[in-house]
Symmetry: C2
Subunit: 1005 residues, 2 copies
């Protein structure tokens, strides 16, 4: 092995390593691919039941990662080494780590982490769960358990390793810019590839002819379809890859809008799915010829004989109780899954022992990313005995005249193993019966626990779970060992292809990495010796203390982000915090970017000075002890530097233009084929903002700001910074607007019109932002409904539900009354597609339903909400106000009377098809005359008000008249004129509630 | 190293080998490429002065090589290992052979040959000279000295090695079908790639949508142009490769006609040239940053100390003569170049020694592919002394009255180193001069020979020659050593970067492969010990004898093909003939195919039984001795089997259709954009055949056959067999026509209408073939002229010169008289483009010029040819006849009189603009009356004849009248009427020669 390891040597060493492990060594694909996954040697070979183990280099092309060769890490072409292990050999993490050692990486000197990463390829209809492998904060490998490809479930699951060779070379050579990597003794990576980076970046970002590339996409797609129609899998797949690459070019040129993106992905996914199906049919019709090919043997497992044994298990003894340990050893669990699993165990474990009647002294649940632990102190070795009363035959026919038991009784007693004499009588709900007291002696836990332990693990559920081996079991990540110890004895059970035992694992590459526990008491000391803290609370505080100390050492004011602390706690089992710094020059970037990168991408704690400004430091928490902290820090510093440089690259590049200069580029972003580009949308937002400003009577100043903000609200979408980090949309718009000299309020409105960005987010403070956001969302909802893209079922590709929720949330929060019917009508007028009254109603109903859900979540009564929204759903603020009022009314003790009075009027009239006018002269009885008068009074009291309170207060006053009317007057008089006149009177009363609420929807009506 | 060497191990072993030699290990390219050459790591890096040594695998895609996975060797994707050594390390053949050893090939056990192969990529504007490397008859590597890329001369030259990995794996594993190659211990090559072969073959041959693929080509080309306009080399190159691949698909679909092919290649070549230029500009503007990178050191050369030394050179002695040896050691010379070099040496060497006044006893020239040898017996060690007479001052002023020499004389004597008294007088053309006898003593050959030896080698020229190292010297192939020995002493000289010495090389891998010669006498015994026969005549007879013995052993009647024998003689230096056989089933193929493949592709001697039918054997001649002949035979047998299988594949596939069924496919072959498809052309040929049949009055039977043949004459072009082996066009048509039940004559005409296919080929026997061929060629010439594609300068892309030559050759051979003016007019009527009289004349003139050249080559006098052709060029046969006649006339002793008489008539009239009618009444003088009468008689004798003989015989008879007329009559009489009448009479006489010949073009006129 050369010293240093050259770039080319890394490729050759990985080929050699994996060939020796039994992998077939394959070659890169001959069309541009974004990743080795797209090579047929992965995409197709992972399908179906046949084994397949393969390794190959893949120069991967990702146009939008191009940085003209200037960024140390980002490249439009980077070299992957791709490995597929199918089926899971049982120890893929170990094999992987061995391969790093084969490259000369000394794991002890680094922080190697498996960081949750769920992989998905929309174009391939493929997804999997796994990790990014981090070497000192740097992602060097993608490690995935492939669950689906081409929309087809993979059985068996394949393990996919994707090495990022540049990153590995940097780490091995200590060169932290790709251009300095030594490719061989004579040439650097920059020598051979820098020019390509410059040129391809220029081509992809600036020059590629959009129309031509779009046309290529179309041709490729058609050829793919043609090939598929002929059952030609590989030619089809090749053209799909070409579609994907041309799509990437279009995307990099910024010419693919949200809607078009969905459509194109959909088409590619559809092709991939068909490809996968045809491939599987082919293999099946061939009789799966490779079924007999060898799988990879997990030869790398440490032989048990060489394992340190902490203590000999004592001779068997039948203690009445002992400590119990269940350890579920896993590959690294995602932070969220670890949290969830611990919560579930807290819930499930105690009842497990209760249900089994196994008493214990105390029970403790803990866990780290690599283990879930249940420890029980003094658990009984046997269940408590139980006596149960069992129901027998009815007592009255039990004995004949001679007091002799019937055959039924004798049989019952025998079946329960008791004497007839011991049967007792017991009175039950439907009579007196004979009962037997049956005694159940408790079983040994060795008998009852195994099944329950397996069931316990099976009961753990996760938001996303995965399969990995032939057992078909699903879990957050693979389970690799199981310990079930009762004192010093193993409680044998089987789950997920594993037998429970006494072998546990500490930190990887530590001394005594793997040990055999003599008894439960060995467990805690062993983990402590490894620096592992299993209790999350303790671990959390341990981290907090370390971070706080480091912050204090820098005289920092930063409060520790509790959410981040939670996450970090669940990412490590032996936490050691360390300080890194970055170049001060990066502080010129907007703080949102810096903090976003640090927290979101790297899970670093940012550091602020006493005046609140960011300092050029970060704190990260490694997994492991204090050894080699310097090299760990070094790696992390390089990573964050490169990430910041990347952001700076975008900001710099964008700064060549004013924000408004990006507007024309919006025309290349298709919003929806029927609704035009994002520029068209922007123009509609501006016009609608004007209308809405009138509707809510905005001041002229505010209106002007709103209009300016509307003009620019989407202008940052084509900026490089936003293309790169979509989550910064609006924020970047604000920064660029300020840079261009726009006023503060306009800039803020650009940022805030997206609010709320998600649940838990607030509404915009300024009215301009509110109005622009309203215009944006109304345009989306109304437009996409008209275009036939209304959400259905689980499908909501444009997030219209979220949009509607945000819309009503903002109106309510800011108490803006507005008639959405009118607004929707304004919106429709601006659309390029025709809309019908039905469309308008559908939109309104859609928004109303979101409002309803929102109010129900806030605890309002379902019937109250529905009653008011039926009449006032178009004006959320007013509706909420009336719901509050109605809520109080229905809580009133006299409410039943009020409702009853109104209901009588409704019930008798509701089947009438016609509305009858009241002719005063035909009012005969005094009670009806009096009611008529009362009604007139109530009407004038209500006036134009839509208030429920106003209505009900007024209405309440005529309840006596109503009651008297019904008590004395026969509505359904034989005389048709009289009858209709009376019905008309009641109808009039009923309609007094119009526009306030539909009381018939209330309970008790 | 695994045993056997798996396919993947071969790739890894080559990576390792070349990495250790100092090559950068690179990766396959990410677009479909036809060869590793197209990877930018070759195509671009070979440009400019910077060193570059690289090796990489390249999965190469050649659609038309697809065989649905059925042929053992032919694949639409095959794996190359590509190596570039820039500059030439001096020993690339040795490095290459070492790499074979690194793969476990034992060279001693095989016949490893370097077989001439000149490589060219029309799309890349690239070419080079080199070899196919054959392992037992199988091509396993392409070895090229790259001379040009992108139309740019390469300085330095790069050595390109392209390993065919499947072939190598077959040889190593003894598996002679690609599907059986073991890729790794578990999977075969067929396992992982058979399906791809099937599917891609189906796609490329049957399914690819021609219109769409053509559109892709257009888009790629436009993007390439766009990228180039922006100076983006690599994106441009990528799109050029995509053009090339789509072109290949179109070609495989059989949709690219000859003309379109030229056009598309031209466009791709143009793009490649621009790419190369921009790349070089880039590197230059960067200051060629790699100039200091290391070149590959020829470390593999055997250190001289370990070399066997045949005898110690004797102590220096000054012998008066000794034997002389010049050996020019080369890498394998092509057979033709070896022959040519030997001829040149035969011519140059003797005069070299004569010019130097170095006497010798005898001189012998010999050579093999690896050496050119000049051996001189008893060459004098010094030049003979020379005495030269030098001219001095004129004798008459040399001495004054006192007989004292003038200063001029004294000075002259001094300058020549002689005494004044020794000057002599000599009479010369323009007077008497003093002369000095100057004595030149001869120099040692060590003084005079070095320069002349270098000059001798420099004077050798080849049809195609190449450069290889910094010396810039051109030769057929690289010169690798020089021996110049005089007795036991080296005559030191320097050429092509080499110093002359005494080290020579025998057979590679033999014992004593390299030796140091003690003296010239060691040379012959050493070569003999190696089995090397340097004298080509001896070698030829040695081969003939071996082949004859093998033929005799099979009781074969086959005569040995002398041309092939010549070639084989020049391909080996230590010939051993061996017999191989092939499967009898292949004998079902047409003999033309079998023999063509054996002779042309493999240089095998076919074997025929006594009745003349082919036997399932072949004879090949290896280079080397009799060891391991079995494995050599085995390899050769596998090769020929696969080649025959390939032909059978095509025949088989074609047999699904009748010959006429291929006609519609001709419509996809563009002949020329302005002239339509090959189907359009075929239709024109049919119509024209009808017209021509009339013109030459073909019998109805013959006419019918001609028309049927015309219909089908191009139908075999889209057949797979012809697409694969173009040289079989017509032949395959014949076979398929017979198979379809067409009559023998029609079939033969289909084959023969192409005759003559080249110089030395005969004309068609049947008239139908002649007429169809005539129609075909007239259509091409007239059509392409009209389309503006007339040949100019060296440019004749459609071979119209060849067509015209064949056209006249056929007419002459078969003595078919035809007026081509009329034929061209018929042709034009059928064309889709308009033609002018000017076009017709241009065509006629073009054909006339070919006829003229043909006749001049046959030895006819230039003036005679031109005189007749001026009047009869439109009818070649008649013209030839008259040229023969005129030739006899001009050879006659009285010719001058005849010509003079005619000339007098011409000279006096030729300036007249007008043609004057003769009025008999105005004839006054008897001599003019008599002449008039004579002329009338001559006119009636000639009649309609166009014969020169007829004319001259008749004309001769009135010579006396002519002479008398001029002697007595004044033509230019004062009276204008009389004058014009006399001129008219003479004009009439002059015009008697019209249509026979233009005598004014004759010498002496």
């Amino acid at each position: 092995m050369p010293n240093p390891m050259y770039f080319q040597s890394i490729m050759m060493a990985l080929q050699k390593f994996w060939a020796e492990k039994g992998c077939l060594i394959w070659q890169p694909y001959y069309s541009q691919v974004g990743a080795g996954t797209m090579n047929p040697a992965t995409f197709l070979r992972v399908l179906g039941p046949e084994p397949w183990n393969v390794g190959y280099v893949e120069p991967s092309i990702r146009p939008d990662d191009g940085r003209y060769g200037d960024n140390p890490y980002r490249l439009q072409q980077h070299y992957q080494f791709q490995v597929i292990l199918k089926p899971d050999p049982g120890n893929p993490q170990e094999l992987y780590l061995q391969s790093l050692q084969a490259l000369g990486i000394q794991p002890q000197e680094h922080d190697i982490r498996f960081v949750e990463d769920n992989w998905e390829s929309p174009a391939l209809g493929a997804w999997g769960l796994g990790w990014e492998v981090w070497l000192d904060g740097q992602e060097i490998t993608q490690f995935t358990y492939f669950q689906q490809a081409g929309g087809i479930n993979l059985e068996p699951v394949s393990v996919e390793l994707t090495y990022g060779l540049e990153r590995i070379a940097m780490a091995l050579q200590g060169n932290y810019h790709f251009r300095n990597i030594l490719w061989n003794p004579d040439y650097t990576y920059g020598d051979v590839n820098y020019q390509a980076e410059k040129e391809h970046s220029t081509y992809y970002f600036e020059k590629a002819d959009i129309e031509r590339v779009r046309e290529m996409f179309r041709l490729f797609e058609e050829e793919a379809n043609l090939a598929l129609d002929m059952g030609l899998v590989l030619p089809a797949h090749d053209y799909i890859l070409k579609c994907s690459h041309t799509f990437n070019i279009l995307d990099t040129r910024g010419s693919v809008g949200v809607t078009e993106r969905q459509a194109l992905f959909g088409r590619m996914r559809d092709l991939s799915r068909r490809t996968a199906e045809v491939y599987i049919q082919q293999r099946e019709s061939l009789g799966y010829p490779w079924l007999e090919k060898p799988s990879l043997a997990p030869s790398a497992k440490q032989p048990e004989s060489t394992m340190p044994q902490l203590a000999l298990p004592p001779a068997e003894e039948e203690a009445t109780s002992a400590d119990f340990l269940l350890e579920i050893g896993t590959e690294e669990l995602p932070a969220g899954d670890l949290k969830s699993a611990l919560e579930q165990l807290h819930h499930l474990a105690p009842s497990l022992f209760e249900d089994l009647h196994l008493p214990y002294e105390s029970l403790e649940i803990s866990g780290t990313p690599r283990r879930l632990t249940l420890q029980v102190k003094n658990l009984a070795s046997r269940q408590e005995d139980q006596t149960v009363q069992v129901k027998g035959p009815p007592a009255d026919h039990a004995y004949d005249q001679n007091d002799k038991p019937s055959q039924a009784v004798i049989g019952f007693a025998r079946s329960k193993g008791v004497q007839v004499e011991d049967l007792q009588k017991a009175e039950m709900e439907n009579g007196v019966y004979l009962v037997a007291q049956v005694h159940h002696p408790g079983s040994s836990i060795f008998t009852v626990l195994p099944e329950k332990l397996a069931a316990l693990i099976a009961e753990l559920h996760f938001e996303k779970s995965m399969r990995w081996n032939a057992s078909g079991v699903s879990f957050s990540r693979p389970i690799r060992w199981l310990i079930a110890l009762f004192g010093s004895r193993v409680i044998p059970f089987h789950y997920a292809g594993l037998d429970s035992g006494r072998i546990t694992h500490g930190l990887r590459f530590s001394q005594n990495e793997t040990v055999e526990l003599g008894s439960v008491t060995d467990y805690a000391p062993y983990l402590a010796s490894q620096g592992i803290i299993t209790d999350p609370k303790v671990r959390r505080e341990h981290i907090r203390e370390q971070v706080a100390n480091l912050l204090a050492s820098l005289k920092s004011s930063e409060e520790i982000d509790e959410t981040l602390l939670d996450e970090v706690t669940n990412l490590v089992e032996a936490p050691t915090a360390l300080l890194g710094h970055f170049d001060k020059s990066h502080l010129q970037l907007p703080a949102e970017i810096l903090v976003g990168v640090m927290k979101k991408h790297q899970r670093y704690f940012p550091v602020r000075s006493l005046n609140g400004s960011l300092m050029p430091y970060f704190i990260t928490v490694r997994n492991g002890g204090k050894a080699h902290l310097d090299s760990v820090a070094r790696g992390n510093e390089e990573v964050i530097g490169a990430r910041f440089a990347d952001a700076a690259f975008f900001m710099q590049d964008d700064s060549k233009h004013k924000l408004e200069d990006f507007l024309p580029r919006l025309d290349t972003l298709i919003f929806h084929p029927k609704l035009g580009s994002m520029l068209n949308k922007t123009r509609r937002i501006v016009a609608l903002t004007g209308k809405l400003a009138e509707q809510i009577q905005l001041s002229p100043d505010q209106r002007a700001i709103a209009l300016e903000a509307a003009e620019l609200c989407k202008a940052d979408l084509p900026t490089k910074m936003v293309v790169e980090m979509t989550s910064l949309q609006g924020i970047i718009g604000k920064y660029y607007a300020l840079r261009d000299g726009k006023n503060e309020e306009t800039a803020q409105a650009i940022q805030d019109h997206y609010l709320p960005r998600g649940a838990g987010d607030g509404s915009p403070q300024g009215m301009p932002a509110l109005v622009v956001g309203l215009a944006d969302r109304l345009d989306s909802i109304t437009g996409l409904f008209a275009a036939g893209m209304a959400p259905s079922g689980a499908k909501d590709p444009f997030g219209l539900r979220r949009a509607a929720i945000s819309l009503v949330q903002n109106l309510i929060d800011r108490e803006v009354e507005i008639d959405l019917r009118e607004s929707i009508s304004h919106t429709s007028d601006l659309l390029p597609v025709k809309t019908s009254a039905q469309d308008h109603n559908a939109c309104l109903e859609f928004i109303r339903l979101r409002l309803e859900n929102l109010l129900l979540e806030q605890g309002y009564r379902h019937d109250v909400v529905r009653a008011v929204l039926a009449e006032q759903g178009h004006n959320p603020v007013q509706a909420v106000c009336n719901i509050r009022e109605l809520t109080q009314w229905v809580a009133d003790e006299n409410w039943a009377l009020v409702l009853a009075a109104y209901a009588r009027c409704v019930r008798i009239t509701r089947d009438q098809k016609e509305c009858f006018p009241v002719v005063i002269d035909r009012l005969i009885e005094p009670q009806e005359k009096s009611l008529y008068k009362a009604a007139q009074k109530v009407r004038s009291e209500i006036g134009d008000s839509r208030g429920v309170d106003v209505f009900l207060s007024a209405f309440s006053k005529m309840i006596p008249q109503i009651d008297r009317f019904f008590d004395t007057v026969l509505v359904m008089d034989e005389n048709i004129e009289i009858r209709q006149n009376r019905l008309g009177l009641l109808q009039e009363i009923v309609h007094l509630a119009d526009g306030k609420a539909d009381f018939s929807k209330l309970e008790g009506f």
